[in-house]
């Protein structure tokens, strides 16, 4: 184990609040990737949140390793992406196996003109450590070994009982944001269900540290031929010469027996030697068995308590949507919460819940479809699945049907009218597609509400209900034209602080823009 697991990053310190009755505007339960991201985003918007965590360090062991472009874009907006990308592994060669044979290989080619890569592989603890560092730099109050053990919703605040090494204390919050993970004690204390389609499976995770070179490729097996390897197996690289191996073992297993290192080594040996015939030298860094379910809470807003991340939804690991979607939850929530604290309508928070519930359904659907491909549920689905894999060996047309997990992409929020006949990838609801602008990138300029004026006039700024919208200009380069204009000669985009498009039109029309802005902040 690396020392990073053992180092307290925010050790317990007795806080003056423990000797008085304090009340804070925002309390975040949980200093995982989601809670920390929210605290940083709020701090950048001038809101000082208190973060409570029952631990005082990064999460132990092996969890998320694949972080997608949208997550990196959000982290870049928060000032934490660059070192993570420098540390992360980028691979582009993948190989797909079906039983004994290699069906095909592929090379991922990322689209040009984006600041961030399509994704990186990086151990979750590196992300958490970077987030803790950034939060501390911004003066966020992270209280280690502060475990929330009681909660009551009062008319206009939430009352918490927090357990510490010095005993319990009471704390009040105008808004409580539960980012306390899949087993969310907040959810339990409120007696709320965790509903949806349940899919159950066990995954044996082994992180192995290679002592010699091994290719930076992603290997995926359907029906791996190695004994006891389960229904699928995956191998891919993380930083520090660590390779992640997942074996999908099914539901009825003997956990104890499966965790026996000799048994694990036997399958890992078989897998690693399958292409070369020799077993490379490696150490088992971390092994564990995880269980996954696909479900979400019915409502992410419960009055003054809002849920985000794993506390609100859980998905299977295919497609790496857990941490990625949790970070998008708080990207959606932080600007709304800052506005509500500033006196704007609470409808903003209902819209958070609605949009992110929709996103959770989309993620659950995507990961359920992957699961159905990986673990066919009937004889005929097995026949079709195998037919796809057989065809994929010889014919390109079948390869897009092979589903071993679809990389997390941001959700397109529905129900926003499109006033332009423009490119689909930048229609209202989407997260802005990046493109080079001047010496930098478009997304570098998007931190608040903005008008993006392309080949048309617009005011430098526009104020409405106390919100200031500023204009961004971009030269009409080929990439900007292709991504934002298509065949349209000009366009005006209204963009919100999470970089999602609110609306777009051929030209600036003040009434139209004001109406769209008011709808976005819950004031029709």
């Amino acid at each position: 184990m690396t020392a990073i697991f053992d180092t307290p990053l925010y050790p317990y310190v007795r806080h003056p609040d423990q000797d008085r009755l304090a009340r804070d505007p925002v309390i975040i339960v949980g200093a995982g990737p989601v809670g920390l991201t929210l605290a940083i985003d709020l701090a950048l918007k001038g809101v000082k949140a208190v973060v409570l965590d029952d631990n005082d360090r990064v999460s132990t062991g092996s969890r998320a390793i694949c972080f997608a472009k949208r997550t990196l874009e959000i982290l870049d907006r928060l000032g934490v992406a660059a070192p993570l990308i420098a540390k992360g592994v980028q691979w582009n060669k993948g190989r797909v196996f079906f039983g004994e044979r290699e069906v095909y290989d592929f090379t991922l080619l990322a689209e040009d003109g984006h600041k961030q890569p399509a994704f990186i592989n990086l151990q979750q603890y590196y992300l958490e450590a970077a987030l803790v560092g950034r939060a501390q730099e911004l003066g966020v109050d992270i209280r280690g070994r502060n475990r929330v053990m009681g909660l009551e919703q009062r008319t206009d605040y939430v009352s918490l009982t927090v357990e510490t090494p010095d005993g319990p204390y009471l704390l009040g919050a105008d808004w409580l944001i539960a980012c306390d993970g899949a087993r969310s004690p907040t959810r339990d204390m409120m007696g709320l269900g965790f509903e949806g389609r349940v899919f159950e499976d066990n995954f044996l995770i082994a992180d192995v540290k290679m002592r010699a070179d091994f290719p930076t490729e992603r290997w995926f097996w359907f029906e791996p031929p190695f004994e006891g390897a389960g229904q699928s197996a995956l191998l891919h690289k993380q930083p520090d010469d660590v390779w992640r191996i997942d074996f999908q073992l099914g539901w009825d297993i003997d956990r104890e027996a499966e965790l026996d290192p000799t048994r694990i080594r036997a399958r890992v040996d078989a897998m690693l030697s399958s292409q070369t015939g020799t077993i490379p030298d490696y150490d088992l860094e971390w092994t564990s068995i995880y269980t996954f379910q696909c479900r979400r809470m019915a409502r992410f807003r419960q009055d003054r308590v809002l849920f985000a991340g794993d506390a609100a939804h859980q998905v299977s690991p295919f497609g790496a949507r857990g941490a990625n979607s949790g970070i998008q939850d708080v990207d959606n929530l932080s600007w709304r919460l800052a506005l509500v604290l500033d006196g704007r309508s609470e409808a903003l928070l209902d819209a958070y819940a609605t949009e992110r519930e929709y996103a959770a359904d989309e993620n659950i659907l995507a990961s359920t479809r992957s699961t159905d491909f990986l673990t066919p549920k009937s004889q005929i689905s097995q026949i079709f699945r195998n037919a796809v894999l057989d065809l994929a060996a010889d014919h390109a047309f079948a390869r897009p049907l092979v589903n071993s997990g679809r990389l997390s992409v941001p959700c397109v929020y529905p129900d926003l009218a499109d006033g332009l006949t423009g490119p689909m990838p930048t229609r209202p609801g989407v997260a802005c597609v990046d493109a080079p602008v001047g010496a930098g990138y478009l997304l570098d300029h998007l931190q608040g509400f903005h008008l993006l004026a392309l080949g048309c006039d617009a005011p430098d700024m526009l104020a409405d209900n106390g919100i200031v919208v500023t204009r961004i200009d971009a030269a009409l380069t080929e990439q900007i034209k292709a991504r934002y204009l298509g065949d349209a000669p000009s366009a005006l985009y209204l963009i919100r602080p999470d970089q999602h498009v609110v609306g777009r039109w051929p030209n600036f029309d003040e009434t139209t823009v004001r109406n769209a802005l008011r709808a976005a902040i819950g004031r029709e």
Binding site: N386, A387, D390, L401
Partner: protein
């Protein structure tokens, strides 16, 4: 394009022969697999989701 449910194959008897001949000598499992590969190949040829959906409905 709409789904064509009128006769569209020249030499229907010859086509039918060819279809059955493709299965000759195959076990039930091999035949099932061939059918699945054939359906996927034909669906890709059609491409149009509305037509495929209409065909699924007609077949069911």
């Amino acid at each position: 394009m709409t789904l064509n449910l009128d006769p569209n194959i020249a030499d229907p008897d010859g086509f039918y022969d060819e279809l059955l001949a493709a299965h000759e000598g195959l076990s039930k499992a091999e035949s099932d697999a061939l059918n699945a590969r054939l359906i996927l190949t034909l669906c890709n040829q059609i491409g149009d989701r509305a037509v495929i959906r209409a065909a699924l409905r007609a077949a069911r």
